[in-house]
Amino acid sequence: MVSRETDGARPAEDTGRPGAVRLADVTHRYGEGDDAVTAVGPVGLDIEPGEFVVLVGASGCGKSTLLRLIAGFERPTRGTVTVSGAAPRPGQQAGVVFQQPRLLPWRTVGGNIDLALRYAGVPRDLWETRRAELLHRVGLDGTERRRVWEISGGQQQRVAIARTLAADNPVLLLDEPFAALDALTRERLQEDVRRVTARTGGTTVFVTHSADEAVFLGSRVVVLSRRPGTVVLDLPVGLPRGDVDAEDVRGGAEFAALRARVAHEVKAAAA
């Protein structure tokens, strides 16, 4: 399989649009000298504004490293990463949802949202409205005053998503955000993420090891080989998006076929 990168040159000004993510010949190594481990690469990937790209692969294939490169937490050892036309810096171009909620325990649910609003430069007199609006978007109305340890793991992850949406970044990055949750909660949150991102129209990059999750969420699924991860499959997913019944999507024949194909590729790539 070939990555889309080789399809041909795209006009350079395209990659500068808000929400565009471009990885050009990116390789990343951890450590130095003989201890260095190549985690990922070389990877070339062009993500259009508004796309929902799911990076899927077995554990240790470097998919989280790719996400950290896009988030700006790491600089690539080789190649270049640009987000909205610039080298990514943490908190500047993209919002990140991590595997663990990473909420601040010394702040209430509302306080965690407020912090994000403050960092995003939202004027203080708008916080109350924006906070209520964000919590409503993730289905947590009226939880402002709760302590973060009083709510369930699934609710904590919803707060983490709401907080990330506070800045209205054109790019949203999610690193296996539902891996630690039970199956029922996971399905509900998947539906929420699908709905929320369809509405904002921003770019989403989602990392998972689950073929099922990848096909359900993505408008495009990218399968990575085992370490060092390279792109082995770049598959557009044409399942209906927006206001659709999730059960219809999951129950369809197309979903089943795509899921089987992705699952097969992931397994083959990991072998």
Binding site: G91, V96, F98, P105, W106, A116, Y119, A120, W149, A166
Partner: protein
């Protein structure tokens, strides 16, 4: 019957084991209250009884072991005006204590503020820590009396050396605790704050400092304890009025009852302050154990 009960094993009847849960809980609650109140009170009464009998036996002179009643009389004397004398040396006991507490508040407060500031810098900047940590460790091992003479030479015999001594004594525990806590601030939360667009300063204020608060509080309690135990040392020279000065002065005249009153006053006020700090900690750090 849960082990929390204070009832001796011999009093338990076999039916007890089959009791329904609510009653058993009620019983153990009264047992808990008994343990919390009656046992400490009992040990205090026992202590007073032993003290009284030792004093009455007359093995040692009254100067060495004054009976409880004499100490109580001394307590009343230093708290009231008697024979035209106001308290001890013209100052009531509570005033001595108040003056000393003010010295502690100023000295320990200064040491704690500097300790938190130094700990913040040392915990975040590696080379500053390497530079200063050996000095702070050295300072911490010194008993305050060791540098008190030096402080007197430098600063005279008024308030300055006393406040400075308490500040120097309180500084190291807070600095050490803050440094360790700041250096151990959870990376994943700092990263999350940066991902939300927080600056370096935002991250220190909103993540590093709050995450270090429980440890800082432990350091503060330690520092107040150290300052308290240095109080008598700080008031060795020109300490009157002041509770430590009162103890020192009374000791010069073999006035054991007043010495004991002073010691009791220092101990009780120390316990009250530690209790207040614990309460404050629970109010300020409600997430302790949840982070």
């Amino acid at each position: 019957m849960p082990p929390a009960s204070a009832a001796p094993a011999a009093l338990r009847d076999p039916v007890d084991e089959a009791e329904p849960a609510p009653r058993r809980r009620a019983r153990s609650r009264t047992g808990g209250a008994l343990r919390r109140l009656a046992l400490p009170l009992g040990s205090l009464l026992l202590f007073l009884a032993v003290w009284q009998s030792v004093a009455a036996a007359g093995t040692w002179s009254e100067t060495l072991v004054p009976p409880p009643a004499r100490v109580w009389d001394a307590f009343v004397d230093v708290s009231t005006t008697h024979d035209g004398v106001r308290g001890y040396n013209g100052t009531y006991l509570v005033e001595h204590l108040g003056i000393s507490l003010r010295r502690i508040a100023l000295g320990a407060g200064l040491g704690i503020a500097l300790g938190v500031a130094a700990g913040l810098v040392m915990g975040t900047v590696g080379w500053v820590r390497s530079l200063f940590e050996p000095w702070i460790t050295f300072l911490r091992t010194l008993p305050p009396l060791a540098y008190f003479s030096l402080l007197i030479v430098w600063l005279g015999i008024d308030e300055e050396p006393k406040i400075t001594l308490l500040a120097v004594a309180a500084f190291p525990p807070v600095a050490v605790a803050t440094t360790a806590a700041v250096a151990a601030a959870p990376r994943h939360l700092q990263e999350a704050a940066r991902a939300l667009g927080g600056s370096r300063r935002d991250v220190v204020r909103d993540v590093v400092l709050p995450s270090a608060l429980p440890e800082i509080f432990t350091g503060v309690r330690l520092a107040v304890g150290v300052a308290y135990s240095s109080l008598v040392a700080a008031e060795l020279v020109n300490g009157l009025p002041g509770i430590g000065g009162m103890v020192k002065d009374a000791a010069n005249y073999n006035n054991t009852p007043v010495v004991l009153v002073g010691i009791a006053a220092i101990g009780v006020s120390g316990l009250l302050i530690d209790g207040a700090l614990l309460r404050l900690e629970r109010a300020v750090v409600p997430w302790r154990g949840h982070a």
